[in-house]
């Protein structure tokens, strides 16, 4: 594997290998000295065209724990007219010796452009491209579900029969797209619940099982995990829904909805959360909430990703 661009590119075998290596990395992350020498002398660039402190820090920690040198490059306003192009920025970083580029960009497809346009030869890791994909988020979500279900016996396990309900702004969500690919590759059954405005006009293009009513979805689909998506308030001004109150009442994981869930149903959120909008504090802090597990596991999964992409390179 040269790049990680899309969860759609990952076979079951590759996915399991990534998750199983992440299990080993998580053991490293529990040690007093959380460091492996694997990528010593290698340079990893965090190329972020969009603010995302938590994803950037997670990748940075992952690379550092593998002993790579890490540099951060944050570029705002990247359109051709406004400044340096994506091509020039990437080529500049490679000329400085970057072995891998971790890219977060507001344009869907930007990571694929970097990997395929012939501009650079470094490894490319997609850390979120527009509304397209965020594959390491899906990996950490799958890892988290597996860990909660199987604990220390997780290694080698798939997610056959596990039912995951993704709730909220699927239309604009790279987290949803990556999870739909990856969770189904692992054998999980995935449904979505969202207002029709926040699903594609042809929802079947993404997922056959979709609900326009959250309570109906929970009642009928009986999810093992409920994955709440972050809602951008700007969607309200663009008339995707009438008000924050109405969104929260109809689509939020309110205290009432959370209380009614079986204690075994996982509550997931990729963060950062809008408490009181798509998720209540009660739900976010409930024992079955995996929110902090997801953050923790993100480092292990990203270490695994960098390991699989880079460890085999000729030095």
């Amino acid at each position: 594997m040269k790049h990680l661009i899309s969860a759609a590119d990952l076979s079951l075998d590759v996915t399991l290998a990534l998750l199983d290596t992440a299990e080993e990395m998580s053991i490293v992350n529990e040690r007093e000295i959380k460091k492996l020498p694997t990528l010593r002398g290698r340079t990893v660039v965090n190329l972020f065209f969009e603010d995302s402190t938590r994803t950037r820090i997670s990748f940075e920690l992952a690379a550092k724990r593998l002993s790579a040198d890490v540099i951060g490059f944050t570029a705002k306003g990247s359109s051709v007219s406004k400044g340096e192009s994506l091509k020039d920025t990437a080529q500049t970083l490679e000329a400085m010796g970057a072995d891998a580029v971790i890219v977060r960009h507001h344009a869907s497809g930007a990571a694929q452009n970097l990997a395929t346009a012939g501009w650079i030869s470094a490894h490319v890791v997609n850390a979120g491209d527009g509304k397209h994909e965020h594959p390491t988020q899906a990996l950490l979500d799958a890892f988290t579900i597996r860990k909660r279900l199987h604990g220390a016996g997780s290694t080698g396990k798939n997610l056959a029969g596990v039912r995951v309900l993704i709730v909220g702004d699927v239309l604009h969500s790279r987290v949803a797209r990556s999870n739909l690919h990856l969770l189904r590759t692992l054998g999980a059954r995935v449904a979505v619940a969202a207002p029709a405005t926040l699903l594609p006009a042809t929802p079947d293009a993404l997922v056959a099982e979709h609900y326009f009513d959250l309570d109906e979805a929970i009642a009928k689909f009986k999810p093992d995990a409920v994955m709440m998506l972050r809602v951008q308030l700007e969607r309200m001004s663009a008339s995707f829904f009438p008000s924050a109150q109405e969104y929260s009442a109809n689509w939020g994981l309110t205290r009432e909805r959370a209380v009614a869930l079986p204690a075994t149903t996982l509550i997931m959120h990729p963060g950062p959360m809008n408490r009181g909008l798509e998720i209540s504090s009660y739900a976010a802090d409930a024992p079955q909430s995996t929110v902090l597990d997801q953050v923790r596991n993100g480092i292990s999964v990203r270490m695994s990703t960098l390991y699989h992409l880079m460890a085999g390179d000729q030095q």
Binding site: S78, S85, Q112, N113, K131, P200, A201, T202, A205
Partner: protein, 429 residues
């Protein structure tokens, strides 16, 4: 009698074989055993009226890094064209007599095709008030086709006024049908692929709703309307319905909408970014059928050159548009001839005759006959050619690169002069 130029044994659209003799800028004889100062063996070649493009972007003045009237004229000649109609979205905008006369003059200086500028409908393409339509019509460029192409005349009242006003001089409005509110931030066709790629959709209804409105306006006012680049199956249905009612509507389709689909966007390669966007296979099939049955009147290229940096970037930042002058006839042949669904007479209509009628280009799109101006294209239909990225155009945003297409323009004659000979552009004429 001896002629300046004779094409021996050319095949006409109706299948008959004949010699064509040219004297000066006119066809002087059509018959057997003609001889001339220069004789070209045209056996196996189809002789057609020189092509007329009703939708070209020549980029001059203002965007000479992409194309100039000269380079675009050369690309046009290479594609078998003898007349092109450059759109008004230059800088400055062609919304007054000065700019259209400048472009018209640049066309004469280039000397490869007739360049008949299209005037803007509204000042600065801003959709707020009418441009100087009458002044452009009365200018040396004698503009008869007006369009804000690139932008839609979305204000219904302004559209009404424009449709009425151009009646004064027999003009026609060519509408770029795109509801601006329904396409805010739009990047590609809205459908299965956009849902999966996470690119903002450009729904077909944004085109269809404007066409529906405008054909009704045209019917109400008794005006002529031309619809640019139809791209959806429902647009075809609306135009078909309007024609049945007797509305004076004509419609064009681009070569790329006849051949390419939004599946190509999965590469995220901005060479496939175009407005209106590439649609689905069902749309392609409907557009092809409409071209055959006459619902769609013409193929127009929407040749839209862009410099490399406008396409070597992420999808969202890339410019809309693709080149097409040198491949249009091949796509027409594929759709009409190779498919077995139509014939060369129809190809001549959609590539030349009908566009000349819509625009009032009296020296173009004429049946080959003695006494008419010698504007001709000769196609070798037997050739299969692999398309290369670089063309006579200054730009290389060529979505056909690597594809194999049928047919090749072997010779183009513009006002009696060979502009293309044996598939090669002739230098300084």
């Amino acid at each position: 009698m001896s002629f300046d130029l004779v094409f021996k044994n050319a095949t006409l659209a109706n299948g008959s074989t004949i010699d064509i003799g040219i004297a000066g800028d006119r066809i002087a004889a059509m018959g057997a055993d003609l001889s001339g100062t220069q004789a070209i063996d045209a056996s196996g070649l189809i002789a057609l009226p020189g092509f007329v493009d009703l939708h070209t972007h020549l980029r001059e003045p203002g965007f000479e890094a992409s194309e100039t009237v000269l380079t675009g004229s050369r690309a046009a000649a290479k594609g078998g064209y003898t007349a092109v109609h450059p759109m008004a979205n230059t800088s400055p905008v062609a919304d007054n007599a000065g700019v259209v006369e400048q472009v018209f003059g640049l066309g004469i200086d280039a000397g490869y095709v007739d360049v008949f500028p299209i005037g803007a409908v509204t000042k600065g393409l801003e959709g707020k008030q009418l441009a100087e339509l009458g002044a452009m019509a009365d200018s040396r460029a004698q503009v008869r086709v007006f369009s804000d192409d690139g932008k839609c005349v979305s204000d219904p009242l302004l559209m009404r006024r424009a449709l009425e006003y151009v009646k004064n001089f027999g003009g026609v409005i060519a509408q770029h049908a795109q509801d601006p509110r329904l396409t805010e931030g739009a990047q590609m066709n809205e459908g299965v692929v956009s849902a999966q790629l996470g690119l903002t959709g450009w729904p077909g209804v944004a085109e269809e709703s404007i066409i529906a409105r405008d054909v009704m306006l045209a019917e109400t006012l008794g005006s002529r309307i031309h619809i640019c680049h139809l791209s959806t199956a429902r647009s075809v249905e609306i135009v078909r319905w309007a024609k049945r009612r007797g509305v004076q509507v004509t419609a064009e389709v681009t070569p790329h909408h006849l051949l390419l689909t939004d599946e190509l966007v999965r590469t995220y390669d901005p060479v496939y970014k175009v407005n209106p966007p590439l649609r689905t296979q069902d749309d392609v099939a409907a557009l092809r059928a409409a071209l055959v049955d006459g619902t769609i009147d013409i193929i127009a290229t929407d040749h839209a050159p862009h410099p490399a940096e406008a396409k070597e970037c992420e999808w969202d930042s890339a410019a809309f548009g693709m080149v097409g002058l040198e491949t249009a006839a091949s796509v027409a042949q594929l759709v009409l001839i190779e498919s077995g669904k139509s014939d060369w007479t129809r190809l001549a209509e959609v590539m030349s005759i009908n566009a000349a009628k819509i625009a009032g280009d009296i020296d173009h799109g004429n049946e080959l006959a003695v006494g008419t101006l010698a504007n001709l294209a000769f196609i070798d239909p037997a050739v299969k050619r692999e398309i290369v990225r670089a063309t006579e155009s200054k730009s290389e945003n060529n979505p056909y690169a690597g594809l194999t297409l049928p047919g090749r323009v072997m010779h183009t004659v513009y006002r009696g002069t060979l502009t293309v000979q044996n598939g090669t552009i002739r230098e300084r004429l």
